[in-house]
Structures are given as C-alpha cells and as structure tokens.
Symmetry: C2
Amino acid sequence: MSADAGEAPVVESARRKRTRDRLIDAAYDVFAEHGIAAATVEQITEQAGFTRGAFYSNFESKEELFFALAERENQVRFDRLEAGLTAYFPERGQITTDQISGIVRDFLGLQPDNRSWCLMQSEFQMLALRDPEVGKTYIAGENRAMSMLGARLDELVAMVGLRFTMDSRELSQVLGAIYSDGITRVMLTGSSNPGPDTIDEVSDTIARIVQAFTEPIPA
Amino acid sequence: MSADAGEAPVVESARRKRTRDRLIDAAYDVFAEHGIAAATVEQITEQAGFTRGAFYSNFESKEELFFALAERENQVRFDRLEAGLTAYFPERGQITTDQISGIVRDFLGLQPDNRSWCLMQSEFQMLALRDPEVGKTYIAGENRAMSMLGARLDELVAMVGLRFTMDSRELSQVLGAIYSDGITRVMLTGSSNPGPDTIDEVSDTIARIVQAFTEPIPA
DNA sequence: TGTATTCAATACACAAATGTATTCGATACA
DNA sequence: TGTATCGAATACATTTGTGTATTGAATACA
C-alpha cells in the first residue's frame, strides 16, 4: 500500500483506451455474427488482434464488454437520430404531407449499419428480459430515445403548421415499433426475396400513420 | 441387415413420443430461462427427468429440438388466435368502435403464457436473422399468421358494417408490431414499475389505430 | 413364458473454453 | 540512460460440455 492509497485511479492510459476500443469494435462484429452467448472470448480477442490476456486485463466478463459496447453505440445512434431529425426539417413554412412521406423514406433509408445494430438491440433486449437490473438500464435508454423523438417530432410538425392528435411519445413508440419490425422483415427477406418487404414499404406505412394522426393547428 | 431393409420406419412408438414431448416441454422452460445458446443438453434432460442418453436417442442437436418446439407451439398459438378472434365477434349487427376497444383489451389481456412464448419468438427471430434457411421458415410462419389475421379482421369489421382504409394485411403487420413491442415493454417494466406501460395502454393504442383506419361501408 | 427389440442409462474419451499466475516487452519518468 | 510501472502475452490447471459406444431394463410380440 503506497502512501496515497485510496486515491481513485482517475486516468486511463491512452494505450489502455485504444485496447479497450479495439476490443469493443471486435466484439461488435463477433456478437453480431454469433450472438453474445455463443461468442467466445478467444474469438473476440483474435478478431481484435490480441490474445485473451488483453481481454482479462481490461474487462471482467463478456457481459461487461457488451455493456461498454452498448453504451458507446447507443450514444452514437441517439446523437445521429437527433441531428438527422433536425437537419431534415431546417426551414419553417408550409410543407405537404406528401413531402413528409418522402422525407421519412429518405431518412430511414439512409440509416447505415442497420444489421449489426439491430442484432445488438435484440441481444440487449433479451438480456433485459432475463435480468431485471439490465432491464432497468434498457428501459431507461428506450424512454430517453422515445422522449427525444417525441419532442423533436412535435417541434417539427409545429414548424409546418401541424400538430399530432395522439400523444407524441405514444406515437414515437408506435413508429419505433413499426420501424424495428419492418427492418427486421427487410433483413429477413433481404436479397433472396424481392417481394413486398422493402424499406420503402416500411416508410410508406410510417408516413401513413403519421398522416392519420396529424391535423392542422386551428387558428 | 434384415430381409425387409430399406422400409421407412413409419411409426414412432408411444413411449418415444412421450419422451420427445417431455424433452420439448423441458426445453421450453430451459430455453426461456437461459436462451438457446446458453442452455446445455444436460439442463434440458435434467429438467425433463432424463439423462443425456434420452436426448441423443431422440434428437440430433439442440437446434432440432428447438425447431420441434417452435413448430408445436406456433401451431397452438395460431389455432388459439384464430379461434379467439372468431369467438369474440360471434353475432352480426351494429357495434361501436368503443366496444371494439374493449374487445381488444379483453382479448389481448387474456393471452396466457406470454413471457416464455415471447422469449421463444425472439430466439427464433435471432436464429432467423443469422441463418437464411431458418429465415425462410420464420418468415413463412409470420406471413401465414399475418394473412390469417388480416383476413379475419376483414370479415369481422365487415360483419359490423365497417371496412379498413388500409390493406388489412399491412394493418395486421402494424398491429402485430405494436403488440410485440408493447408486451415486451410491459414485461420489462413489469412488477417493479407501476408506470405507464400496461397491457391496457397497449390495447388502447391498438384500438386507436384500428379506429383511425376504419370507415363505414358506403351504401 | 420366452425371445427380440427398442430406448434410455451409463461410462468414457475428447474438445473447447475459462480464468489465473507469471513472464516479458514497451512506455513513462527520473 | 537507468529504473519503475503498466499491460499484453504466455503457459497452465481446471471446468464444462459434447458425443459415442456399450449396457441393461422395459416393452412388444410370438
């Protein structure tokens, strides 16, 4: 025990941070391909170009690594959604509901990297369903995202002289559910099936629901 | 090799069927608790009151056991949904949209055993996302259910002089997505949180959407 | 009742993954 | 430049799960 024991180790070296980040990147790929439960520590460290020593020196467990991954990516997605929503409705003034449909289509179609992220979300949800502690964290993230989305949508439709006839948070939840369900179906039918499940169809459905619960602001 | 080799073993003994069924029952519990990947053959057979010998004598792999489970339960759920839908709208004649809301609430609230089934559905979906062959099977089941639901809903609203303003299959998909998302949230907030996520709220949302996309049949 | 067959139990050999104790090289710092 | 520290590599012991080969009890059948 040194003289200044008890002092919290506030700094993490740059080297350590790089290693952790590379492990998280690798875990993203490996978890997406095999799932958290089936993924091995060896696979992750190999993908990252390390041996297992690096893992155990940086994380307690696979789960801890997953939560670090989820937190990082959740924040990235949250910020991107918020920024994207703002960027798409920059100018005040009149806008038609048809234009809104087009915007929804564009916006959703542009979301990159959906496959791995969707798989991570599902993994997270499964953990949440099986462990109440994880459940709290998961729900907190969901609520944060839905509240932000609801508030943003309120602002945005107000800009074009409209308002929602359903609570915007409830509507956000509905749209989120349809979106998740939709992209899952798109991924599943994917290249093998040029059938009716496309991102455009999902966008259309979302636009139709938005339209059904929107009305002009009375004067 | 006996004289009549090459003859297909058409019958499965009653004993064998009982063993398989007990293993499937046990797998339902074990998969729900730990997930397919984390579940061990030992856990399943122990839960069923067998040793691993019984498993390897009846199934090739955990996955084969899961597909047997999924097929059995999928059929049960499908039949129950179809029967339930019919039972709830038995008589022709006028009915108000408020009554429809009540019926939706009742009907959804009554679905038993949601927790394990939802977990199995999620597990199935994850397998489907990672394996195209499984994906085809999964999508086929989904499409079958949604088509049935859409057709049933068409009949039912027609009975009370209404029709949908959205394709009934698309609407079914929307309602299904909201329902899945909703019960997941209910399970997650569950007993720990008497907040806004209740089965009643989910039912209300569904009823509101049905209402928004329903109109009287013009004379 | 005796015989054949079926099927789960048992025992064993093997593979895979884990976690820890230790080593050793690289970086920081004096 | 020398020394201390940090962090990843390595080696090893252990655990855990798998799959198969064999056994033996129960059931079917004559």
